[in-house]
């Protein structure tokens, strides 16, 4: 029986395991050469406020906490068990978890269906049968775990995930490596996360189950999926379709090259890319597919923090002509149009900007370098224009325009949140403008991305999302 058939039972348990009051670490260790050490470090240093119970029959205390020989010996109830013992020892531990009433398990241990030895797959089939019988959600095996930044629990073997910015993006990944790639890029680029979940071998918790759970998770605004391959991809599409666009889903599907293609045959034997089927199925499910990890993060950040884009007419405001041109090219590439300003807007801009440069869209604000108030006035005129559905704001630092970022920060601190999406790009020698950018980024309906091209691509994806969900 698939978990989706009995989703109620699983969803309640998943909610408890992602917000645990108590966590047992089976295979906890004080030896940095063991993953059990790093899992303990993640819990102890990651701000977890519940109780942690190390399980290790060979120790009396671990990380200054009393160690237990078995999960059975713990006096309290246990919401989440993180298991890091060798594969052969896992089954009896799972039985203990079931008897103890554990709500959910993160099975970090490797040595299951991912190994060439068929014993691994047999062992995984065995634990899957038990887990289904007990309605016990198991994330893994062969996973790095998960981190819930909103619930402040790091149930993974990488403590530094706790440094990720907190927000509304939840990443569900088939690869732990991808979580490490995206997680640390998210720190560098200020993408706010709710949950990062490594599905590993997907014992009985697959993408469809996580999407069902996150759809009702008030801490998640947008789901980002990294998919390599699935046994039952239709389940994901069907679950996504039932959401009916209530919570956006982005997907990055790997394995799209000719080598992945050769497995399937159609017509001349070279046509049917399985990836092409995924693309079509994603569209049927209202899932937005993206082409790379950068696009996944940029789009997730924009969807998480910005108002929806309800039209494809964009205003491009640039403090220099070149980056504005680049953004216009990228807009064209991503099916966005340059908005025709209303006469009111054009008059306001003409009052603020000397006739030394292009004053209609894209607006070259170069002549206003020394006058950040004029730049804010132009920006506000464009935001207020009903013909403008979204705004790209580009500013490259020059010594003469140094005051811009601080003035813009003041403006945003005082104004109401934007009702239409605005994506900004600053380029400046660190640390100039950095603090002001950080203060504005992801607040009041504004996000920053590193290049003009990426601002346009993210805006284009807001428009694709609008169409996918239409």
């Amino acid at each position: 029986m698939s978990p989706f058939d009995d989703k109620r039972g699983y969803l309640v348990k998943l909610n408890k395991m992602f917000h645990p009051q108590s966590v047992a670490v089976v295979g906890a260790s004080e030896n940095p050469g063991k993953l059990g050490f790093h899992v303990m470090k993640s819990l102890m240093r990651g701000g977890f406020c519940g109780r942690t119970f190390p399980i290790n029959p060979k120790a009396s205390s671990i990380w200054n906490l009393p160690a237990y020989a078995s999960i059975r010996d713990i006096p309290d109830e246990i919401d989440l068990a993180v298991i890091v013992v060798p594969a052969q020892a896992v089954t009896p531990v799972l039985k203990d978890c079931h008897n103890k009433g554990v709500q959910g398990v993160v099975l970090i241990s490797a040595g299951f269906s991912e190994i060439p030895d068929p014993m691994g797959a047999a062992l995984q089939a065995q634990i899957r049968q038990l887990a289904d019988q007990w309605t016990l959600p198991i994330i893994g095996p062969n996973t790095f775990g998960f981190v819930n930044l909103r619930g402040t629990v790091n149930a993974s073997f990488t403590p530094e995930f706790s440094r990720m910015p907190t927000g509304g993006v939840s990443l569900v990944s088939q690869s732990g490596g991808f979580c490490h790639l995206a997680g640390f890029r998210a720190i560098a680029e200020n993408v706010g996360f709710s949950k990062v979940i490594g599905l590993g071998n997907r014992c009985n918790m697959d993408f469809a189950d996580m999407v069902s759970y996150l759809a009702d998770d008030p801490e998640t605004n947008v789901m980002a999926l990294y998919i390599e391959g699935m046994e039952e991809p239709r389940r994901l599409v069907e679950v996504a379709r039932t959401l009916d666009g209530n919570k956006p889903i982005l997907a990055y599907k790997a394995g799209r090259g000719p080598s992945a293609d050769s497995a399937s045959k159609f017509h001349t034997g070279s046509l049917a890319g399985r990836f092409e089927i995924y693309q079509g199925a994603f569209r049927q499910g209202g899932i937005l597919d993206v082409a790379d990890s950068e696009e996944l993060l940029d789009t997730a950040k924009a969807v998480d923090c910005l108002a929806p884009l309800t039209g494809n007419t964009i205003a491009v405001l640039s403090s220099q002509a070149g980056p504005g041109m680049i953004a216009c090219d990228a807009c064209y590439l991503h099916s966005l149009q340059l908005a025709m300003f209303s006469s009111t807007t054009q008059e306001r801009i003409n009052q603020l900007l000397p006739a030394l440069a292009v004053r209609d869209n894209p607006v070259d604000m170069g002549p206003a370098w020394y006058n950040p108030d004029a730049i804010m006035g132009i920006m506000e005129a464009v935001i207020d224009d009903p013909n403008v559905a979204g705004v790209l704001f580009l500013a490259m630092y020059a010594s003469a325009n140094v005051a811009l970022a601080g003035r813009m920060r003041e403006y945003f601190e005082q104004r109401q949140p934007l009702k239409k999406p605005m994506i900004a790009c600053f380029s400046a020698p660190p640390p100039i403008w950095a603090a002001d950018q950080e203060a504005m980024d992801r607040r009041k309906g504004l996000v920053f991305l590193p290049t003009p091209e990426r601002t346009a691509r993210a805006m284009g994806n807001l428009w694709r999302l609008h169409n996918v969900l239409a």
Binding site: E231, S264, K265, H267, L271, A281, R283
Partner: protein
């Protein structure tokens, strides 16, 4: 989609596939088999000129590779000469092949598209649409969906083709996008009705302002 008393028991090529699909309510170009020249002339008169002649042999899959197709024959004389030319030419190139006769078909007009169905090991039954010829073969300009599809899915499949402007009336061509949508929905339910269909090619399908018509087809069963 009506299902006759029995299932599809073997793969169906060209004429057999077209007859089956016509029975399922799919639009087909008028097509007749002719074993002899007199039958070909009769068929051409009945269908109306211009017509197309195609060699019919169980041993020849790719008819164009052996010059086995003659287009746009406008009168009885051209059909008569064409029948001989086709027969002698193919016999010379493929002496091993048994030649049954020719298929006489109404000349298709409009833009060529291709519709396919397959069973993906992971997704199960899927549907594909693409523009014909080099668009599919070279550009890989195709769109897939999993079966069943709704009319909205069919419309999205067509509009997301890079070559959609060609269907949408570029260069003075006019095509009925609604007719393609209907055909895609019909094929989707056909694939659901007959699970024994492992793979199906409708290639080409002619589309013009009045509708769309299957020109050739093949249906592969599971074994």
């Amino acid at each position: 989609m009506s299902r006759p008393g029995k299932s599809i028991e073997r793969s169906l090529m060209s004429m057999d596939a077209l007859i089956f699909l016509q029975g399922q309510g799919l639009p087909i170009l008028r097509t007749m088999f002719a074993g002899q020249m007199s039958e070909a002339l009769h068929a051409a008169r009945k269908i109306g000129f211009p017509v197309v002649l195609k060699i019919s042999s169980p041993h020849i899959v790719h008819k164009t590779d052996v010059n086995g197709v003659l287009l746009d024959l406008r009168n009885e004389l051209e059909v008569q000469q064409g029948f001989e030319r086709l027969h002698d030419g193919v016999a010379a190139l493929r002496p091993d092949a048994m030649l049954e006769g020719v298929v006489v078909q109404e000349m298709g007009r409009g833009t060529e598209i291709i519709i396919g169905a397959l069973r993906d090991p992971q997704f199960g039954p899927c549907l594909m649409v693409g523009l014909g010829g080099i668009f599919v073969e070279v550009m890989r300009d195709v769109a897939f969906r999993v079966v069943p599809i709704e009319r909205k899915d069919a419309r999205q499949m067509i509009t997301e083709l890079k070559g959609f402007p060609i269907l949408g009336g570029a260069r003075g061509r006019e095509t009925s996008v609604e007719a393609i949508e209907s055909l895609l929905v019909q094929v989707s339910s056909l694939v659901n009705t007959f699970p024994e269909i492992a793979e199906m090619d409708l290639n080409p399908v002619f589309v013009n302002a009045a509708g769309c018509w299957l020109c050739d087809a093949r249906i592969m069963t599971a074994d």
